[in-house]
Amino acid sequence: PHFIVYLPKSQSNICFNIDSEPGKILNLVSDPESGILVNGQLVGAKKPNNGKLSTYFGKLGFYFQKEDTKIEISTKDVTVSHRSRTSVLSWSDTAHVVNQSVLISMKKENAVTITLDKGMSFSVLLHRVWKKHPINVDFLGIYIPPTNNFSPEVHGLIGQFMQEPKIHIFNERPGKDPQKPEASMEVKGQTLTVSRGLQKDYRTDIVFGTDVPCWFVHNNGKGFIDGRYTDYFVPQLYSFLKRP
């Protein structure tokens, strides 16, 4: 999956990819204090392309501890568990489901929005590919608005950026690839070489997406994210991140 992190103070989009393997579960948001957890499980393409097997989010798990609600979103359906009871919704329906203070709005074959009372929301987009495509598989995208008020302790691959890191981008220069300029970026006490690139925001155009220019951090975001991406692997879909 590719990540786009918008940093409001720096007015910059920083992006990175995580190249891992199918089945791995990445922690995206871990906020034990507000009892909010978001994990994503990777699914692989049907087969490698140019020797490389692409991976995507195939399943997303949301756990709202205080509301005793778990929401598992897969490319097949959406399962809502509240206390000990479960309802399964299908992507073929347009549905709204509310229990206690969690509202789930599904738009048929398109998107799920999860809204909590406390001004917290998450959007998940469904990318449905042609079933017979030799390589591509259905996959999901997750969008977390910067307005979500997590606790200051929030972490995770995405959660950590709720506390915006200071960055300084300088010395823009032509890159090895003439079409892709480079620059140096100071962040978290390190200086990284970043490349100018394009990522996609699919919320307004689910097929072609909207180009989002950004500064791309290589090596699975090393230097930009705390630690290494492998630090964000969790064993279960609803495991909180164990932080050092």
């Binding site: 990819n17 048929k108 079409q179 690139g197």
Partner: protein
């Protein structure tokens, strides 16, 4: 059934021959139209009486009958009852009669025509009827009663099933004790299936040298449609729509259930034995989160526990022991028994002892009329209606033929439940269990279907207190195709753990293409199903009408619809006459408990459409587009390249 034998290969020649007996059923989206046709030749030297006697499911609507006797054709027309009788009395056909008679068999009635046929004459009968297929315990059951009465030179049964939603499974169980193994031929596609049953004369024989036919029973076709894709299926066509709703993947809602069992003297013997047997299975089936108790009544009312108790193994075992010891005797005090059950549930509710998300059910099992206490049925109805709370549904099971089934039906329909007849002459225990299994898994409460667009009209019952797993709620209505190209529906409901709103959009051309491709598909199915539902629900509402004026108004509507849609209902009769109009027969429906949509598990109510609840109207999180700050310094890959940055 036809008297006498037929031609060379099938017995002596001087009798009546059944030349062909053909049954063709087409089911298009749960709407079944069946045509039964038979051809007979009188080979005997003297006039013979020929009877055309077919069993049709109760609740089916006869729509057409024609008969050709020795070249003279008789056609049917649907008339208002008294008009029909008057026409008939003006020109009674000689040697010919027709009629609809109550059947002795389970849930069936007979259409019977008798004609006196001259030597050498040929007769052809053809009857059309339609019905809705109700989903029960996870499948639709189509039963065809085959009773040719004798060996037929051509015996052919064809069932075509066309389901735009997709056919999940289809099964033809053996109902002839293995005699016709391998004869039914099933071909099944994604959305269409065909079952043919065409035994040769030899295969029809009871034994190789016998002259009797083995074909005397039911051909049953079971099937279900694809469901995992979506909870509801909205089918729009020709100015009508039908909405099928049967969500599956929801956790059961806990139930508070009170069994109210008649143990009066008339229950003594097999009935009680079978009831106890069924109850033991039913109690074992309760879930841990359910609460229950048992009330047994005759002229006295007793309860196993004064309050509801959780269905733990211990409690269930104790309840079973209690039931086993019951000895039926004495009179029948239905009023007191029901008021006791209602009191227990109301009390528990008022004391906050019930799960707020639970469903409360009363299941009354009785085989007779009240003989002790309040005897006036309307008073009992009034007492029950006044004391029962809105969150309680009353289901009544009438055992045998002594019970006033109409009373039980009214009692249930006006208290959010339904009544069902339990036939004493069949395995009572399995009927009781089968009924219980239909209501044992409540999945949704307060289900309401809304069609907000003003040009949607004449919507059938659209509000239901419960939805039970394995069943299906069907709502239909009309719309103006000129004004509306697609229909929006909003279903609101409460599941075990959430409030639910389901929105569906459907347009006509979804089906147009599909139906046009199949010569068997009935393009009229939406209209037929809408009419079937509407008339059945009106018949039930008519029996609950609070005033004579209301009753008259409903009667008028039913009559008008019956005539418009050519349907034999309790208010119409079928006049069968020859072209000259000087020979007429009258097929009148018997006085019957025309239970609303026999087989339907729901008796809902009509409520005006509600808008989407506020909480569901919350516009999804505003899409804050990623800020696209200053353009990139250099040109980047053309935007159509579906690629993102990568290492």
């Amino acid at each position: 059934s036809l008297s006498g034998e037929s031609e060379e290969t099938m017995g002596d020649v001087d009798q009546v021959t059944l030349y062909s007996y053909k049954v063709r059923s087409t089911i298009t989206s749960r709407t079944a139209t069946t045509i039964i046709q038979s051809k007979v030749v009188n080979h005997s030297p003297q006039p013979q009486n020929v009877v055309f006697d077919v069993q049709i499911p109760k609740g089916a609507f006869i729509t057409n009958f024609s008969m050709t006797v020795d070249g003279t054709t008789f056609r049917s027309s649907i008339r208002e009852k008294t008009v029909g009788k008057a026409l008939y009395s003006q020109a009674r056909a000689k040697g010919k009669t027709a009629g609809l008679v109550r059947s002795k068999a389970l849930d069936m009635e007979n259409f019977k025509t008798e004609v006196n046929v001259l030597p050498g004459a040929k007769v052809q009968f053809e009857l059309h009827y339609q019905e809705a297929k109700w989903r029960k315990l996870g499948s639709y059951e189509h039963r065809l009663y085959l009773q040719p009465g004798k060996l037929a030179k051509h015996l052919e049964v064809d069932v075509w099933i066309i389901e735009p939603q997709g056919i999940r499974f289809l099964h033809v169980p053996d109902t002839f004790d293995g005699h016709f193994d391998g004869v039914p031929v099933v071909s099944k596609g994604q959305q269409k299936a065909h079952v043919s049953f065409k035994p040769t004369v030899e295969q029809q024989r009871i034994c190789p040298s016998c002259l009797e036919t083995m074909v005397d029973g039911e051909l049953v076709v079971l099937y279900d449609v694809d469901r995992e894709k979506k909870a509801g299926e909205l089918e729009v066509f020709n100015g009508y729509f039908v909405h099928f709703f049967a969500p599956e993947s929801l956790d059961p809602i806990p139930k508070n259930i009170l069994f109210v069992i008649d143990v009066s003297g008339s229950m003594w013997g097999v009935k009680m034995k079978q009831t106890v047997e069924a109850m033991k299975t039913i109690l074992d089936d309760l879930r841990a989160e359910d609460q229950f108790s048992v009330i047994d009544f005759n002229h006295n009312v007793r309860n196993w526990r004064n309050d509801l108790v959780s269905a733990t193994k211990t409690q269930v075992a104790d309840a079973k022991r209690y039931i086993e010891k019951i000895q039926p005797s004495g009179g029948t005090n239905i009023n007191e028994a029901l008021l006791r059950a209602i009191f227990i549930l109301n009390e528990a509710n008022n004391l906050g002892l019930l799960d707020p998300n639970s469903v409360s059910l009363i299941i009354l099992v009785s085989d007779g009329d009240p003989t002790v206490g309040e005897l006036k049925l309307s008073k009992i109805q009034k007492n029950v209606k006044q004391s029962i709370q809105d969150n309680i549904s009353l289901f009544s099971l009438g055992m045998g033929f002594d019970v006033d089934y109409d009373f039980l039906k009214r009692l249930s329909n006006e208290n959010r439940g339904i009544a069902q007849r339990i036939y004493g002459n069949q395995d009572t225990s399995s009927q009781l269990k089968k009924f219980y299994n239909q209501v044992s898994t409540p999945l949704l409460r307060n289900v309401q279907f809304n069609y907000p667009h003003p040009s949607v009209t004449d919507v059938t019952q659209n509000s239901f207190p419960n939805y039970f797993g394995g069943s299906e709620i069907v709502v239909a209505g009309k719309f103006d195709p000129e004004k509306l190209k697609e229909i929006q529906s909003i279903i609101t409901a409460t599941s075990a753990n959430t409030e639910l709103v389901l929105e569906t959009l459907a347009q006509m051309d979804d089906l147009e293409d599909f139906l046009s491709k199949d010569k068997h598909a009935d393009p009229d199915f939406t209209r037929k199903l809408w009419a079937y539902l509407t008339i059945n629900q009106l018949l039930a509402e008519r029996s609950l009408a609070p005033t004579a004026a209301t009753k008259r108004k409903i009667t008028k509507t039913i009559l008008q619809m019956s005539l418009e849609h050519h349907i034999v209902t309790p208010l119409t009769a079928m006049v069968i006459e020859n072209e000259a109009g000087d020979e007429r027969m009258l097929a009148d429906s018997p006085p019957q408990d025309h239970s609303c949509c026999s087989g339907a598990l729901y008796y809902g109510s009509k409520v005006p459409p509600d808008p989407i609840p506020d909480w569901a109207n919350a516009s999804p999180t505003p899409v804050v587009p990623m800020p696209v700050e200053g353009r990139v310094l250099e040109s980047t890959p053309p935007p159509h390249v579906m690629r993102v940055e990568n290492d």
